[in-house]
């Protein structure tokens, strides 16, 4: 695992942008946490700058590490990922489950820096 420190002081590189998949997810390991990374190459309106979101890969409903393999999209304007097991939707921005707002996944401050994806 690469732990090379990026330009900013505390940011650490997770992977390269080329490791991401357009409009879909991959998973990175960071300090023993599994982070699902979702990539919108043209932003949430499909016409602006690229964006990346980091969210816990663990699905609390199935107890399996699968969120990164869900389909992303929007519901009533909110960016969401659907769990591939029992299909609950989680907001990419804050991890809240749309079907059960008591459930919330951890989210991570991940950013694009040049050709790298970093976690702050």
């Amino acid at each position: 695992m690469s732990t090379a420190t990026a330009a900013k002081n505390t940011a650490q590189v997770l992977c390269g942008v080329h490791d991401l998949v357009d409009y879909s997810g991959v998973v990175a390991l960071h300090d023993g946490r599994q982070i699902a990374l979702f990539y919108l190459p043209h932003g949430r309106d499909r016409h602006s700058a690229p964006e990346v979101f980091g969210i816990d890969n663990h699905d609390p409903f199935s107890n399996a590490n699968v969120i990164g393999r869900g389909i992303i999209g929007d519901k009533a304007g909110e960016l969401v990922v659907a769990s591939p097991i029992y299909k609950q939707h989680f907001r990419l921005t804050d991890g809240v489950c749309l079907e059960d707002s008591d459930v919330r996944l951890a989210t991570f401050d991940v950013r694009l820096e040049g050709e790298c994806v970093v976690i702050v």
Partner: protein, 855 residues
């Protein structure tokens, strides 16, 4: 009588007769909780469970006894009702309140006679019946139909004596069997009970145009055997005319089956029929009679709806509230030999002062008559020949006494002339009867909608509307949709918030506009980013139309995880791997290779229901290596992860089996290799059996093929699983090329018209026009789509490529198969336990105890 166990604490209720009315009575009794107080016995002298006699002629055009059967097969057992089939009651002993069967006596507290009627055969002199059964056939039971089928094998021409409703149904049956059919009617016109002279003429012209001979005003004086002649029999008519034939089928009316009641001394009408009062009680208050055997107010009723009403009356009397029987509407809407015929209320205008409007189309053999009251304000009755689309509206005017519009004639004028003023669902009062078989009013439908019925299927289950004769289906839909709209409920058929179109509409756009990517479709016709509903649906449509690899960059984000990684995700996030084992045929070498892969990667191994082998527990990063080995061993992907053809199950066929009549394995291989990879709205399963023993269970599949001596029988739209559905016979004795052509067209038509995630069985039930419509489209090419559908299928077949072989060639695609983008290896949270010598995922409690040990 060992199975006649008696619950001494319960009253004994015996129902004699297991026809449609007897069966309905049982259903009603169960629904009203009668089984708490009564031990119910049902006796039927036929060996079949209750079946739909109204649609009997479909027995020759695709439906078998099971498909005609009424209600759930385990209804009786579930509710503790004892059903005795094939048992004829010898007599009723009213003094001792017992019935006598060949097996013994059984006491009753209450008795219901629902014995129906028997076909009347006029005493026409003819050859000895025992030697010439084919000169005196009747048409009433499944056994009668088996006899007709048997005698039709070597016959060319068949004659039905009787031109009424049942006679024409019988002629249809003969025609379905490939015979030249004739109808001989004593009266001067066909259907003399329902139609007037002009209606009879129009019907006759239409039926003759179909190649059925019609002979009215003909009295048959004798039937003579003519051995050595072209035809086996000659029918001589009064006046010297004659008609030669190979078989004679009598359908000259029915008579109440009242013998048991006669022998028991119950009051019987002058011309037969067990006399009942408005509670359906006979002259013995403990004995009821219902259906065609009963005589109420001097009338018998030869239709199913009045019988059902009587059944409800009796069920009410024996449980809570007795609603008196007060006669029944004898209006009928029929399709006879494909010709629409309707007769409503006072069709002949016998009410004093009644006037008629008539529309006669001599060129097209159409006829409509509207009978109105003397003041011209109310409709009294109607006759329709050739087009029943007017029926529902006219029936509502008559039944509900709705005031006629200013120009009543408009109600029967052709609708192209500015459009007839059809009666909207909102004009119907709440008391308006929508389904007369099950007594469902518009008010009951409104209540069901209020209670949450949001689709037609749920409504049918809740109210039973349109589950009897089905004649009210169109009206039911109209009322239902109107009620939904009037409540402001969503009748939006949009796929999701991103596309305001149905799957069918999106399919057409993709095809017609040549759209090849989700982005392009979203740009042109959608909003937002898409979601987990529209992405896989459109991914499937794109795959069907253009057959691009699902792992190509523009498609990959559309797929469910199973399609993305071409394996089936299990509950712990690992995958199962299932290579294709076409037709369930596998060489020993490949079997060994499969075993070696399972050993190497420590995969749980299980044989599936579809004659394949599933390997469970593979992690994401292991999938490419596993597949590399499988492909090297000669396997290809099995599409177990896709909404696509899964397997074609087969029996071993005539290569080995002494009963087989065709090579079922070869046919299964041909089908599986032809349709593998085709993306469909939902999964598709097939089966091929080498003989009628049906070891491959083909009739439980979307496409079922059963070998015959002459070729193949094709069945469609079956289903197993949660909601089993018997497949329906679609074509018989076809050769292999025809079979492939029909299946090509069938599958492509399904892909084009089905909703998302709709199996063929549900699709078939939602098709207006049903199986007949499907046959017209596929077999007769009524929509002119045949060539196009075949061409589209050829494209898919010609461009097939194993998705796993394609992915393994491309390092970019393989990048997806990493558990972590920044670490090698697998998910540390996946823990297996060994059970029965194989790995399985650890359960939560096991994980906790493991954690304790590690600490």
């Amino acid at each position: 009588m060992q199975d006649l166990t008696i619950h001494p604490e319960k009253k004994q209720l015996i129902i004699i007769g297991n026809g449609m009315v007897g069966h309905h009575c049982v259903e009603q009794l169960i629904e009203r909780g009668a089984t708490q107080d009564y031990q119910i016995h049902v006796f039927g002298d036929e060996r079949h469970r209750a079946y739909d006699r109204v649609h009997l002629s479909e027995y020759f055009s695709g439906k078998d006894a099971d498909a005609l059967a009424l209600g759930e097969a385990n209804l009786h057992a579930t509710h503790g009702v004892l059903l005795h089939l094939g048992v004829r009651i010898s007599s009723i002993d009213r003094d001792r309140r017992e019935i006598l069967t060949p097996e013994g006596r059984l006491p009753y507290d209450s008795l219901i006679i629902a014995t129906g009627s028997w076909p009347f055969v006029p005493p026409i002199p003819g050859p000895e019946v025992s030697e010439h059964p084919q000169a005196r056939l009747v048409y009433r039971t499944l056994e009668d139909l088996d006899a007709i089928r048997h005698h039709a094998i070597h016959a060319r021409r068949g004659v039905v004596i009787g031109g009424g409703l049942l006679g024409l149904e019988a002629a249809n049956a003969l025609k379905s069997l490939g015979l030249e059919a004739h109808v001989v009617e004593f009266a001067s016109r066909l259907m003399p009970v329902q139609l007037d002279d002009q209606g009879g003429t129009a019907l006759r012209e239409r039926i003759e145009a179909l190649g059925v001979g019609v002979h009215t005003g003909c009295a048959t004086e004798e039937i003579v055997a003519t051995p050595g002649h072209d035809y086996a029999y000659r029918m001589n008519f009064r006046g010297g005319e004659h008609l030669d034939t190979d078989l004679v089928l009598f359908s000259a009316g029915i008579r109440p089956q009242d013998q048991l009641a006669r022998d028991a001394g119950l009051e019987i009408g002058e011309r037969g029929g067990i006399v009942i009062d408005e509670t359906c009680r006979t002259s013995d208050p403990e004995i009821f009679a219902i259906g065609e055997c009963a005589l109420w107010n001097g009338k018998t009723f030869g239709l199913v709806a009045p019988g059902y009403t009587m059944a409800r009356t009796v069920a009410g009397c024996l449980t809570d509230v007795c609603e008196p029987f007060s006669g029944a509407d004898m209006s009928t809407k029929l399709k006879l030999l494909g010709v629409d015929v309707g007769s409503i209320g006072d069709a002949f205008g016998t009410t004093e002062g009644a006037k008629s409007y008539r529309w006669i189309d001599e060129a097209g053999s159409g006829y409509r008559r509207l009978v109105v009251s003397s003041d011209g304000k109310k409709a009294l009755g109607a006759i329709l020949v050739g087009d029943n689309s007017y029926y529902d509206t006219l029936l509502q005017y008559v039944q509900n006494g709705i005031d006629l519009p200013k120009d009543p004639a408009a109600l029967i004028l052709p609708q192209s002339e500015g459009g007839a003023p059809t009666l909207g669902a909102d004009a119907l009062p709440d008391t308006a009867m929508v389904c007369s078989c099950h007594n469902v009013t518009k008010g009951a439908i409104c209540k069901a909608v209020d209670d949450g019925c949001a689709d037609i299927a749920a409504l049918k289950i809740e109210t039973k509307a349109s589950t009897g004769c089905g004649g009210c289906a169109a009206l039911l839909k109209q009322v239902f949709e109107h009620e939904l709209e009037s409540r402001g409920m969503d009748v939006d058929k949009s796929l999701c918030e991103h596309f305001h179109y149905t799957r069918q509409e999106l399919y057409a756009m993709v095809r017609v506009e040549g759209i090849t990517s989700f982005d392009e479709l979203l740009e042109k016709h959608g909003h937002g980013l898409g979601c987990d509903i529209c992405k896989p649906t459109i991914g499937s449509i794109l795959a069907t139309c253009w057959n691009q690899p699902i792992m190509d960059p523009q498609n990959v984000a559309l797929q469910d995880t199973n399609d993305t990684f071409m394996a089936n995700m299990q509950k712990n996030g690992t995958y199962s791997v299932m290579p294709r084992i076409a037709g369930g045929e596998i060489t020993p070498d490949k079997l060994v290779a499969l075993g070696q892969v399972a050993q190497k990667y420590d995969l749980y191994t299980k044989i599936t229901g579809g004659q394949r082998i599933d390997l469970f527990g593979a992690e994401l990063h292991e999938l490419p290596d596993i597949w590399e080995e499988l492909i090297n061993a000669g396997f290809e992907t099995g599409h177990a992860y896709g909404k696509s053809l899964r397997t074609v199950k087969s029996c071993v066929g005539n290569t080995w089996c002494r009963y087989g009549v065709q090579d079922s394995v070869a046919m299964a291989l041909e089908l599986e290799h032809r349709y593998k990879g085709l993306r469909t709205p939902h999964k598709v399963k097939m089966g091929v059996s080498g003989c009628t023993r049906e070891c491959a269970e083909a009739q439980g599949k979307d496409i079922g093929v059963i070998a015959t001596e002459a070729g193949w029988n094709l069945y469609v739209c079956g289903n197993g699983g949660m909601r089993p559905r018997h497949a329906e016979l679609f074509a018989t004795d076809i050769d292999s090329a025809t079979l492939i052509r029909y299946v090509d067209r069938f599958l492509m038509f399904y892909v084009r018209t089905a909703d998302k995630l709709q199996r063929t069985s549900v699709w078939r039930e939602s098709l207006e026009g049903g199986l007949d419509f499907l046959k017209e489209v596929i077999i007769d090419d009524s929509l002119g789509l045949g060539d196009e559908l075949e061409r589209q299928m050829h494209h898919v077949v010609d461009t097939y490529e194993c998705e796993w072989a394609n992915a393994l060639k491309d390092p970019e695609k393989l990048k997806r198969f990493r558990t972590f983008v920044n670490e090698h290896g697998g998910d540390p949270d996946i823990v297996n336990i060994t059970e029965r010598d194989q790995p399985r995922p650890a359960r939560t409690n096991e994980l906790q105890s493991l954690a304790v040990e590690i600490r």
